[in-house]
Every structure is written in C-alpha cells, then in structure tokens.
C-alpha cells in the first residue's frame, strides 16, 4: 500500500497556512485517499484500479490547493492573522518562554525609547526658532585657553554688527541677571537677560501679548525702562490679564514699564542658558545694562547672528575670523590673544552634549542587540525542539520559506509584545531620568514621549523582530535539505549549538565593551571627586555686582565696596566678606601678559597668566592657603602698586625649585611704561575653570590698586548659607539704587555643577553595563544548560565509566569559559577600537586604562562562572542509568 501522506504531499501545491495546519490538512486528504482505495480493494478492484479511483477523487490538485488556501486563509490579511494567532497560541502554551522573551525585549525597547526621546530632545532636534539652520553663534575665545567660556565685549559686538556683511542681523545677550521684583505682594527673585533689539525678531518670536523691543528702545547709551515678561510670570503674578501691558514693575528698585509677554513655549536654548535650568522671567533691552558702557576688555556678552540670504555658514565663519584678527591689530591692548569664530547655533546648544548623548544611545543600542540575541537563542532552542518536523518539511520541499516566515512572525509577535510592554516602561524611565538627571541637562527642555518616539519604537520593534528571528531562520535556510534529513537526530542540534555559541560570544563581547566604557567613566569620576578645588566651597555664597555709575575713581569704588562689606557683615551669621575680579567655576576669566625678570627675553612673545584683583580677606574667606611670604593687607591701599601674589603653578613655571618671594615681573603689553612689581607671597592653586581643568599660572593684586567696576563678592557664613541668600543680596543692593546683584550662587552648587553631568553619564552607562552583564549571564546560562541537556547521555556514559563529579564540572565549566574567553577577547579588541571615541569624557584616565579593562574582564568572567554553576551542578547529578535511556 502506498504512503498516502507522501502521496498527498507530492501532489498538493504548497499551502500558505501554518505548519501544523498544513500537516492536518495533508493527513485528512491522505485519509480520504486511503479510504477510497480500501473501498475499491474490498469491492474487488485490482491495486492499480483502486489507485486510479483514489487519485480520481482529487481531480485537479492545483485547483484544490488554491481552493484550500482560499478557504483556510480567507484573504492575505486573514492569512497573516492566522500566523499571528498561531504565534500567540504557541506563546500561550509556553508562558515561561514568552515571559522571558517579552520582558527582555520590553526592557531593551523601553530603555531605547526613553534614551532616544531624551537624546532627540537634547541633541538631535533642530532649534524651535524660525529657520534654525541660518542661526549662527559668534564667539570670542582666548586663543591659548579654548576651555574658557567665550564672552564678547559690548564694544566688539557693536563693531562686529556694523562692520561684517555675512549676517542679516546680529544680537547680543547678557549673562543671567538676577533682579528682585518688589512692591507687588511678596518680593520675588527673577532671572533675567538683557538682549539687543534684534534678538526676538531674529528668532521669529511673536509676543503672547503686547509687543517686543523696538530699535529705538535699544540705542547705545540711552537706556529705556521697558521690560518684556515671560508667559509664566504673566500667569503667576498677573493672572494672564492683558492689562499688564503698560503697568509699572519695580525691579531692583528701578521702575520698568511692561511692554509685552513672550509666548508660553518660548525658551532660549543658546548660551548663556545652554546647559542651565534657568527660567528667564524678565527681558530688558541691552542698552539698559550698565556694563554696555564699559571698556573693550570687559567681555560679558554672547553673540548670535542670522545669515544673510545666500551666505553659507563657512563664508560667515571665515569673515568673522578675519574680523577678529583685524580687531586684535587695531586694539592689541584688549584683543591680542583672542580669536573669533562662528558656528551653527545648534552646535553651541548641543555640541557639548552630542558625544555624551551618542554614547548613551550607542550603549542602549548594544543592550537591545544583546536582548535580541537572547530572544534569538530562545527561538533557536524552540526550533531544536521541533527539529524532526522541520527536517521532514524541508525535505519535502516548499517548507523552508514558510518556516522562515513563521519564525519571523514569531519574532514580530514577541517584539510587538515587548514594544507594548516597553512603552509604559519608557514613560517611567523617562520620568525617572528627568527627575533624577542633572537639572541643567533635562529640566529646561520639552522632553516627552511623542509621535517621533513612537515611530522610533516601532522601528526598533521591527528591527528586533528581524534580528531575533533571523539567526534561527538563517540557520534553517543555510542548513539545506539533505543535511537536515541526515542530521534529523543529533547533528542538527549541534549545528544549532554553533549558532547559539556565536550569539553568546557576541553578547559577551558587547557586555565587555559596555563594562569597559562604564569602568572608564567610573574611574574618571573617582579621580574627579578626589580633586581638591584649592579652596573650601562649603558655607560660601557668591554674588556678582556692579559699582554704581557715580563711583568712577578707585577711591570711590573702594569706599563703595567697604560699605557693601559692612552691610554684609551686619547680616547675622556672616563670618567674612571678600571681593575678587573673577570667581572660580563661573566660567569667566581675565588674563594679562607677563614679563619675568631674568626669565623672559625682551622682544619675544610674552607669556600669558591669569590676572585677579582680590581684597586681602579673599584668601582667608576662600580658605586658600598662604604657602610662603605674606598676604597683602588692609594697609596695602591704592598705592601698593608694586606688590603681588602668585600661585604655585606660576612659581613652578617661572622659578622651578626657587623661592619666588622677592622676584620681579612686569604686567601688560607695553613693557617700557610698566613698573616692576615684586612678588610678596605664594598662595595655593585653585581650580578656576572646573575640577577637571588644571590650574593655570595666576597672579593676585590688591583690590585697592585696581578696583574693577564689576566685582564678585564672596561671603563665608557660619552655618548653612541657603536661607541667607536673599538677605545678602538685599544688603548689597541697599548700598545704592543702581547696584544690581546677579549670578547669586552657593559655592557648593557651583562645584556640584561641574561634576553633575559626568555623574549622570557615568550612572547611566553603568546601569546599562549592568543590564548587559545580566543579559550576557542569561545567554551563557541558557546555552550551557542546553548543551548539558543535550550531552546528558554522554555525561551519563562518562560517569558510568568512572568519571568523577569534578571531571564533569570541569567539562561544563570548560565549555562555558571557552565561550566567555572568546567573547572577552573579541570584546577587548572592540573596546580597544571604541574607547578612544570617549576620550574627551575621561578625566586623568587613558582610554586604554588597564585597570578598567581587567576589572571588566574579571567581572564578566566571574558572572559567567556563576551562570555556568547551575547547569554544571545539574550535570554532576546525572544518573547514568536514566541518562543512557535518554534519547535526546
């Protein structure tokens, strides 16, 4: 009697239905044929006649196949739906497999979506202004110290605005100014900016009420008392009433007329706000800022420009560079050593963040790849379970394509479920990130899951489906027909095992790269926290201020400062007060040329050092140690022009191994006219720019000699200074109606600010490295236990022949560790190639830091041992008798 199953399979064209369903149909048709055949035989027909009758039952096989396809599947859509339903059924009957796969994917997809949303908002999206690609940031940098924050002086800005041609308009923005709103209920401190009249039109901002600045309100040296307020202030204090326009506001004891309200969504994202959480509530015309009348050397503005139509960013950058060089020639005293540059505004906003963000996106992408590898491993394990059926189907032809389709459908269903579970996860991860991340980085932006994030997750779901469905599918297609039949027993499994081993090796490699990366960041951060800033930041408050316009001579200014100091000392709990020209960690600096007696060569280019003017109490207030000589004191008044203090870096640079006390220097560019100045004391270095930037040579001169117009006050309190901040600002402003206070900070906050972003990136990367470690562990565990299961017979045989538990353990661990060491080797090579990309994020740690590499490899190896332990223990408990009966 013929094999009716094979007969039907041979005749019936491929059905586009699930594998199990096709098997059922073939079996049913075979039964029908067999029945007809039997009936004919019992009726006395010959075998060939019976065979003919059985065949006649089906007439046209092609049509039958078509009809069945149409009947079973309905349309294409219901056919796919069938595949999907089939996949769901399978998952339902294997809840363990489903849960592990879906959770793994949910974790990876959720993480990816959250990080993508953050990275997108911070670094990828274009700026929310009119034609954002045409906006450029124009910067003046100290050529020798590009790490200093670039600021431009008002006079330089006015010249650039008039004399360059690449820009249709150019605007200047002041540092953040803190003003007190009084006279309307409780006093409130508002962050404000002074901007030139071009600012709002350049960005395309339309007022929510009233109007924005007119050119006439921003004429040089003709301040006008108008203010534009933020939408949030309007809401908070004026109940969104349109009556606010024309009202008078008392800000820092001066009266301003409200002329307009900015739209609710408006935020300026460029410098000086880039990377800060400051909410600007009041906008003033630039002309009303006291500093606009100051000298060319006082750099305090940020400049932006909109390209003239037809100009390219490169042309504009070139013109700005040449303009800067010309300025330096024309005004060497103030501009020599400074260079100008222009770059797209977007770059200024995101440049600092871009690398960090790409790093995080890469890390989370790695984790997704690892999750895909785990799911592919699970799918492979499941394919192994069905290997006989697979082999038969492939041998009978037409099955491979559908098997592939079904595996991919299974992948897709898993990925879609993972995506569905991952989205809520993304929502919470994002909330956590925004709440716990650095304020400066995250809280000033509009970050939320939106259509872009959904689209992105859909894309990664699709990619995940392909990535996790493809390895098993590829395995099946590559395997070919003959081999699969021949290997229908154990061999096929061995082939699967090779793919699984490759997947695990890949996972271990990825995990190692992430571990090395996070190790490097952790080590950098440790180093950073160990850095001594050179002063004691606890219980210190800083307030930047400005001398009143009436105080012009050094004597007048010194006297104003003394009054400020007295008023501040009257505030309870204030221990000491000092003033300095440039505060550390505020990103501002001022340099001077120096000629060192006996060291500098006349006529040769001069060295450049940091120039500070400080009151005598500055060093005790900041707790900067005196290392040799003496400090200047209250008696070193305006006539004490011949003395200065130097820091350690300067002494080391010019007088290595010598006592600097008594040495003489000249300051400034014009040497002949400058007097000799004698070093009277040596003080400790401080980290002026940030904890991660080396101190530079620095000199200090008595404040009385050169009382700058805009001193920064430093106030040391006996206890927590936070509650005193308002009283302290009030005390400063009480000196005169036109004395402002701005940049009011607790010094601890400033120190913290310099490390916060690093901490955030370090924590994020470490979290992802840990997840990678965990995923790799799951992968190793899965592969090794599968291998143990398949070798149960062999293990049993060995044990029956006298192998000890130790030998078996050794065998299993050996197999696991072979995979892991190969993975660690590949991962180390990849890490060698990749870590240099993050060198700018490292601090005092080389990208090839051996400790980070060794620690990562050891952690991974230990974890792998742990993952091998359970299957290894299971192997030693194999009962030889049971194992030998085992037919797997």
């Amino acid at each position: 009697m013929p094999d009716w199953m094979q007969f039907v399979r041979g005749q019936l064209p491929p059905l586009h239905v699930g594998i199990e369903r096709e098997n059922e149909i073939v079996a049913e048709l075979a039964l029908q044929a067999e029945q007809a055949y039997q009936e004919a035989i019992s009726a006395g027909a010959t075998e060939s006649e019976a065979m003919r009758r059985a065949q006649a039952q089906f007439q046209d096989w092609k049509k039958l196949g078509r009809d069945i396809n149409r009947a079973v599947r309905g349309s294409w859509f219901t056919g796919s739906l069938h595949d999907v339903r089939y996949a769901f059924r399978y998952l339902k009957s294997n809840p363990g497999f489903a849960a592990v796969a879906v959770l793994t994917l949910a974790f990876a997809i959720g993480g990816n979506t959250a990080i993508f949303t953050m990275v997108d908002a911070l670094a990828l999206r274009s700026l929310p202004y009119r034609e954002p690609d045409r906006l450029m940031a124009i910067e003046t940098r100290k050529t020798e110290q590009p790490e200093l924050e670039p600021w431009t002086s008002a006079l330089d800005f006015f010249d650039a605005r008039e004399q360059t041609h690449s820009f249709g308009s150019m605007a200047a923005i002041s540092p953040i100014w803190s003003v007190a709103l009084t006279g309307r209920g409780p006093a409130e401190r508002l962050e404000s900016l002074f901007v030139s009249a071009e600012f709002f039109p350049m960005l395309g901002v339309k007022p929510a009420a009233g109007r924005l600045f007119m050119q006439a309100e921003d004429k040089r040296a003709q301040p006008s008392s108008v203010v534009v307020i933020s939408h949030s202030l309007w809401q908070r204090r004026f109940d969104n009433s349109p009556d606010v326009i024309g009202q008078a506001l008392t800000l820092d004891n001066s009266v301003y007329t409200v002329i307009g309200v900015t739209p609710p969504e408006f935020r300026y994202l460029g410098a000086p706000l880039a990377g800060t959480a400051s909410q600007i509530d009041a906008w003033f015309p630039l002309s009303s800022n006291q500093l606009t009348g100051s000298i060319r050397g006082l750099r305090f503005l940020k400049v932006i420009g909109r390209l003239r139509p037809g100009m390219t960013p490169a042309q504009a950058a070139d013109e700005i560079r040449r303009f800067g060089a010309a300025l330096a020639q024309r005004y060497p005293e103030s501009n020599l050593g400074f260079s100008w540059s222009a770059m797209p505004l977007n770059q200024q906003v995101t440049g600092r963040l871009r690398l960090t963000m790409l790093l995080l996106l890469g890390a989370v992408g790695f984790v997704l790849l690892m999750a895909c590898a785990n799911v592919a491993n699970l799918l492979l394990a499941r394919a192994v379970a069905r290997q006989r059926e697979v082999a038969v189907r492939i041998a009978l032809g037409g099955g491979a394509a559908r098997l592939l389709r079904q595996l991919l459908t299974e992948g897709l269903v898993l990925a879609a479920l993972g995506g569905a579970a991952g989205l809520p996860l993304a929502y919470y991860v994002l909330k956590l990130l925004i709440a716990g991340g650095p304020e400066s980085l995250l809280r000033n932006r509009h970050i939320q899951l939106d259509a872009r994030a959904l689209l992105f997750s859909a894309a990664i779901v699709l990619a995940t489906a392909i990535l996790s469905g493809l390895p098993p599918a590829w395995r099946i297609v590559r395997h070919g027909i003959d081999q699969s039949l021949r290997e229908a027993g154990r061999g096929f499994t061995a082939g699967h095992h090779r793919v699984r081993a490759a997947l695990v090796t890949g996972q271990v490699s990825l995990a190692l790269v992430l571990l090395v990366g996070s190790g490097l960041l952790i080590r950098s951060f440790q180093r950073l926290l160990d850095v001594n800033p050179g002063f004691n930041p606890h219980n210190l408050v800083t307030i930047s201020t400005q001398m009143p316009a009436a105080a012009r001579t050094p004597e007048q200014r010194t006297s104003v400062y003394r009054t400020m100091r007295e008023r501040l000392l009257e505030v309870p709990d204030v221990e000491s007060v000092a003033a300095v020209s440039r505060l550390p960690l505020l990103g501002r600096s001022l340099g001077s040329w120096i000629f060192v007696e006996g060291k500098s060569i006349p006529g040769a280019p001069l060295a450049d050092v940091e120039y500070r003017v400080a009151t005598p109490s500055y060093f005790s207030t900041m707790r900067i140690p005196l290392l040799a000589g003496r400090l200047y004191d209250e008696h070193d008044d305006a006539n004490a022009t011949g003395i200065l203090l130097v820091n350690e870096s300067l002494a080391r640079k010019f007088w290595p191994g010598e006592n600097p006390i008594g040495k003489r220097v000249k300051l400034g560019a014009n040497l002949e006219r400058q007097p000799w100045i004698t070093v009277i004391g040596l003080v400790g270095d401080i980290r002026h720019v940030g904890l991660d930037t080396d101190p530079r040579p620095e000199i200090y001169r008595p404040y009385a000699v050169n009382p700058l117009g805009a001193p920064a006050l430093v106030i040391r309190t006996r206890g927590d200074p936070a509650p005193l901040v308002n009283a302290l600002s009030q005390a400063v402003r009480s000196v005169s109606a036109d004395v402002p206070t701005y940049d009011v900070f607790l010094m601890d906050q400033l120190v913290d600010r310099t490390t916060r972003e690093r901490r955030f990136v370090m924590l994020m990367l470490s979290a992802y490295a840990l997840s990678a470690l965990f995923l790799a562990g799951v992968g190793i565990y899965g592969t090794v236990s599968q291998a143990v299961l398949q070798r149960t017979r062999e293990i049993g045989l060995r044990m029956a022949l006298g192998a000890s538990a130790g030998t078996v353990l050794q065998m299993v661990f050996g197999q696991g560790l072979r995979l892991v060491s190969l993975g660690i080797g590949c991962g180390a090579l990849a890490a060698l190639a990749l870590t240099w990309l993050m060198r700018s994020l490292l601090f005092e740690i080389r990208p090839l830091d051996p400790i980070a590499f060794v620690a990562a490899a050891l952690t991974l190896a230990l974890f792998a041992l742990l993952a091998c332990y359970v299957p290894a223990r299971r192997a030693t408990r194999v009962d030889p008798l049971v194992a030998l009966r085992h037919d797997g």
């Binding site: 059922e24 149909i25 029908q32 029945q35 089906f58 007439q59 039958l64 009947a71």
Partner: protein
C-alpha cells in the same frame, strides 16, 4: 439560482448533515452521495475546501478523534453559531419554497 445560493445550499447541506452528530470528511462525502441518490455528488475537490471555510467562519469545528479499534480521524461538529446559521438557512428556504408553491399552485394548504 445565483452562484451564492448554490454555495449557500451546499453549506446548508453540510450543516444539516452535522446537526445530528459529528462526522468525518469521508463519511460526509459518502452521505451526500447516497442520500441524494448520487444526484448531488460532492467531489473531494469541493468538500474539503468547503469544510475549511465553514471552520474558518466558526460554523463547524474540526477535531482529531481516536476511537478504540478505529483510525484517527478528523470529526466535524456544529458550533452554536453553526446551529443558528442552519436555522436561518432553513427559515429562508422554507419561505422560498412557500412562495414558490403559492406561485405555482402546488400548495398543500
């Protein structure tokens, strides 16, 4: 009669045959052949696709059953929805026949 009606009637025949008890494909084919005195001969070419369609529409339900001493076969039985559909079919046939009788004068009533 329009094609849909023929298909509808073939469906009705199968549903009606399954109303009494579950049957397998070969039995259905035989029943149709004998009960209609070979006038309605169902080829396998149309019977199985029809069963699969009814199954997809959830009017019948197929299940592999192994009875003692017999081959493992796929038995089809009527679902509640199939039962309702059969009742609908019957009602409209009855109405159709009634109308036909009234028009042609062969009424018994």
């Amino acid at each position: 009669m329009a094609a849909t009606d023929i298909k509808g009637s073939a469906e009705m025949i199968i549903l009606a045959l399954l109303e009494e008890r579950p049957r397998h494909g070969y039995e259905l084919a035989k029943l149709i052949e004998t009960q209609s005195e070979s006038r309605l001969q169902f080829h396998v070419a149309s019977l199985y696709p029809m069963l699969y369609r009814l199954e997809r529409k959830k009017l019948v339900e197929g299940r592999w059953v192994e009875k003692a001493g017999e081959r493992r076969r796929r038995f089809y039985r009527l679902t509640p929805q199939g039962r309702r559909t059969l009742a609908d079919h019957r009602r409209s046939w009855r109405e159709f026949v009634k109308a036909l009788n009234r028009l042609t004068g062969f009424s018994h009533a």
